[in-house]
C-alpha cells in the first residue's frame, strides 16, 4: 500500500494515534456523511421519503437525519413527485437558494421523466431545468431505493474532487442551456 493509496482513504488508521489524508479527501468525506436533505415533496414519493426517514429505514444512519425545510441549511434537494410547469420556477428558485455544495436527487418516475403524466401541464423531467446527480426509478420507489440513491451520492461525493464537481455542474447547466437555446430564441 503506497502513500497515495493511504492519502486517498481518510479514516485508515496508523495505530490509534494519527491519520493521514489529503485535505480535499477529508472535506469530501465529511460532506458525504452530512448531506442534509431538502425534501421537495409534491406527490406520493414524499410519503416514501417519510418512510425512509422514519425508524424502520432510518436515513439518519447515513448522516441525512435532519430534513431541512429551509434551502439555505440544506446540502441536497430531493425532488419527490410531479413537477408542473407552474411549479418549475419555484423549484428552480429553491435550487438557486441552496448553499453550495448542492446536490440533486430526482426521486420517482415523475420527477425523472414526467412519468405517466405526458400532458400539457407537467414538466417532462426535472433535468430540463436542474443538474441532476442521481435518478431513482419507481412509481413510487421503495424507501430502500431512496437509501440506495443516498449511498450512491455519498460514493460520488467521496470520489469526486471539488474542482471536478464544479466542472460537472457547469457542464450540465450548459447542456441544459444548449438544449433549450433554440426555443429561447424562437
Amino acid at each position: 500500500m503506497g502513500l497515495s493509496d493511504v492519502l486517498a482513504k481518510p479514516g485508515e488508521m496508523f495505530g490509534d494515534m494519527f491519520q493521514l489524508a489529503k485535505i480535499e479527501n477529508v472535506i469530501n468525506w465529511g460532506q458525504s456523511y452530512s448531506l442534509w436533505p431538502y425534501p421537495f415533496a409534491t406527490a406520493c414519493c414524499g410519503i416514501e421519503y417519510m418512510g425512509a426517514a422514519c425508524s424502520d429505514n432510518d436515513i439518519a444512519r447515513f448522516g441525512a437525519e435532519r430534513p431541512s425545510f429551509s434551502p439555505r441549511q440544506a446540502d441536497m434537494i430531493l425532488v419527490l413527485g410531479t413537477i408542473t410547469y407552474k411549479m418549475a420556477p419555484v423549484l428552480r428558485q429553491i435550487y438557486d437558494q441552496l448553499a453550495e455544495p448542492k446536490f440533486v436527487i430526482s426521486v420517482g418516475a415523475c420527477a425523472s421523466s414526467g412519468g405517466m403524466f405526458h400532458t400539457y401541464g407537467v414538466l417532462q423531467g426535472i433535468d430540463r431545468i436542474l443538474p441532476v446527480d442521481v435518478y431513482v426509478p419507481g412509481c413510487p420507489p421503495r424507501p430502500e431505493a431512496i437509501l440506495d440513491a443516498l449511498i450512491k451520492l455519498q460514493n460520488k461525493v467521496k470520489g469526486q474532487g471539488l474542482e471536478a464537481r464544479r466542472q460537472e455542474v457547469m457542464q450540465k447547466i450548459q447542456e441544459i442551456n444548449e438544449r433549450n437555446r433554440p426555443l429561447v430564441v424562437a
Binding site: 410547469y85 428552480r92 438557486d96 405526458h118 400532458t119 400539457y120 401541464g121 430540463r128 447547466i173
Partner: protein
C-alpha cells in the same frame, strides 16, 4: 318547488328562457340566454332561497351542439330540503357571459377557472386572469380540440432559463 320555480321564471323572464333542450338528467334544469343569467340568479337567490352556488363549470360540445359551449350553474336551496337546480347558458366561442360575482361572490374563482381552461370570458368580472395554468400559457386545455400533450410546452421553460442560467454560468 320545481313547478313554482318554473312558473315564476315563465312569468318574470319570458324573454330569457330558451326552449328546453333534451338533456339526459334527472336534475331540474333551465336553459337561459346569456344576458338573462344575472337577473335570474338574483331572483332565484332572493325569492326561492337558492343561496348556495354549488358549482359553476362549462361543457364543450364540439361538433355535437350548435352553440359550442354551455356554462352550467348548479344552485342549491338549503332551506328547502336542499333542492338543487341547474341553469345552462349556451354560448358560442368568443362570446362573453355576464359574471354573477355581483350575486355570488364565490363565483369569482370558478369563473376564472372556466376562463382559464375553456376560454369563455365573463363580462364585468373583477379579475379575469388565469388561475390554474401559468400566466404565459397558450391555449385552453379542457377544450375538446386541445391535444393532450399540448402543442409542445417548451416555451414555458423559456422565462425560467433566461432568468436564471446566466447567473449560474458566470
Amino acid at each position: 318547488m320545481k313547478e313554482s320555480v318554473l312558473s315564476q321564471l315563465n312569468e318574470n323572464f319570458p324573454n330569457f328562457l330558451l326552449p328546453e333542450a333534451k338533456v339526459n338528467t334527472n336534475l331540474f334544469h333551465v336553459s337561459l340566454k346569456p344576458e338573462g343569467i344575472v337577473p335570474v340568479v338574483k331572483h332565484l337567490k332572493e325569492n326561492f332561497g337558492f343561496t348556495f352556488l354549488n358549482d359553476l363549470t362549462a361543457i364543450d360540445w364540439l361538433g355535437k351542439k350548435s352553440p359550442r359551449f354551455e356554462v352550467v350553474y348548479l344552485l342549491k336551496a338549503p332551506k328547502s330540503q336542499h333542492f338543487r337546480m341547474q341553469l345552462r347558458v349556451p354560448v358560442e366561442e368568443g362570446e362573453a357571459v355576464p359574471s354573477i360575482t355581483s350575486v355570488f361572490v364565490g363565483a369569482n374563482w370558478p369563473e376564472r377557472e372556466v376562463f382559464d381552461l375553456f376560454g369563455i370570458s365573463f363580462a364585468n368580472h373583477p379579475k379575469l386572469e388565469r388561475i390554474l395554468m401559468p400566466d404565459n400559457f397558450v391555449g385552453y386545455p379542457l377544450r375538446k380540440d386541445y391535444p393532450l400533450e399540448g402543442p409542445g410546452q417548451d416555451y414555458l421553460i423559456e422565462d425560467l432559463l433566461t432568468l436564471h442560467i446566466q447567473e449560474d454560468i458566470v
